[in-house]
Subunit: 165 residues, 2 copies
């Protein structure tokens, strides 16, 4: 991959308001495929989380009102849980869900994920809404951007594999 391609590949992270983080990324796959990967518990372990970590799905009922919980395991064997509830699942356009990192339980984030049809490609926009600016700034300072880009690269690889089948 050339440097120009890598630059294009990086997610665009902005702060549209003092309680939000907006992340935009384009994937080389049609919208139905990208939406399916986001909502299929069989595929989550193949892409969810930064490199070097392995996700297992504890719960994933990807429909309005359903719950989800994933566990990320590091190479040293330590684990951390992530969980939330699907407030809305509207295939193949939108997922609205809560997101909670269990070591900071109660710091709930409301995520709205929008899937935009670009033909053979899909633009995924995730807007995370926090209760306060302090909580938003804590997330920005956590190194989320690197982890996010690694997750999206793993998703690129999975989508390429699914397309070549």
């Amino acid at each position: 991959m050339t440097s120009a391609q890598q630059t294009e590949r990086a997610a665009t992270v902005t702060t549209p308001s003092d309680r939000e983080i907006r992340v935009e990324r384009v994937f080389d796959a049609p919208r139905d495929r990208v939406f399916a990967v986001y909502t299929d518990p069989e595929l989550i372990p193949q892409w969810w989380g930064p490199r070097g970590m392995t996700a297992t799905v504890d719960r994933m009922d990807a429909r309005t009102g359903g719950d989800w919980r994933f566990v990320l395991r590091r190479e040293d064997g330590t684990e951390e849980g992530f969980r939330g509830t699907y407030r809305e699942v509207t295939p193949p356009e939108r997922i609205v869900q809560t997101f909670e990192w269990e070591p900071m339980a109660g710091y709930v984030v409301l995520e709205t994920v929008t899937f935009e049809d670009l033909g053979d490609r899909t633009r995924v926009t995730t807007v995370s809404l926090f209760y306060t600016t302090e909580e938003r700034d804590g997330m920005l300072a956590s190194g989320m951007e690197q982890g996010l880009n690694e997750t999206y690269e793993r998703l690129d690889e999975l989508l390429a594999k699914l397309t070549s089948r």
Copy 2:
């Protein structure tokens, strides 16, 4: 109870910002006692919820990071769940917890409950913070105030019973 006493007994409900509801109520019991009743799973069924409904405790780990889930059963046998996580439990001063009504799962409210020592009495202030003004206004329109006052009257009765022991 005279009309003047009833007026004094009603909770004071205000909206200090466009995403908050603030509820203030004074109870005739010392702070340690009131805090204990808020955090004791054995006592929840005796006061939690409006009159005519019975609460059962499914989970209640009243410490920082712990989860809670109560089920309210109506006289007709129908049930609804409420749940959340204790973000902070600081006896006997403060509880910060999330609150979710399961029929609207994902609409999480952040509640900060403050217990103020007034000697033989305790002022309990609950500030509920919503993600948006629309969600806050939905709660205000839900008839919450009557249910809240009934809950607080049941709490008065329980505190009187505990004090007379």
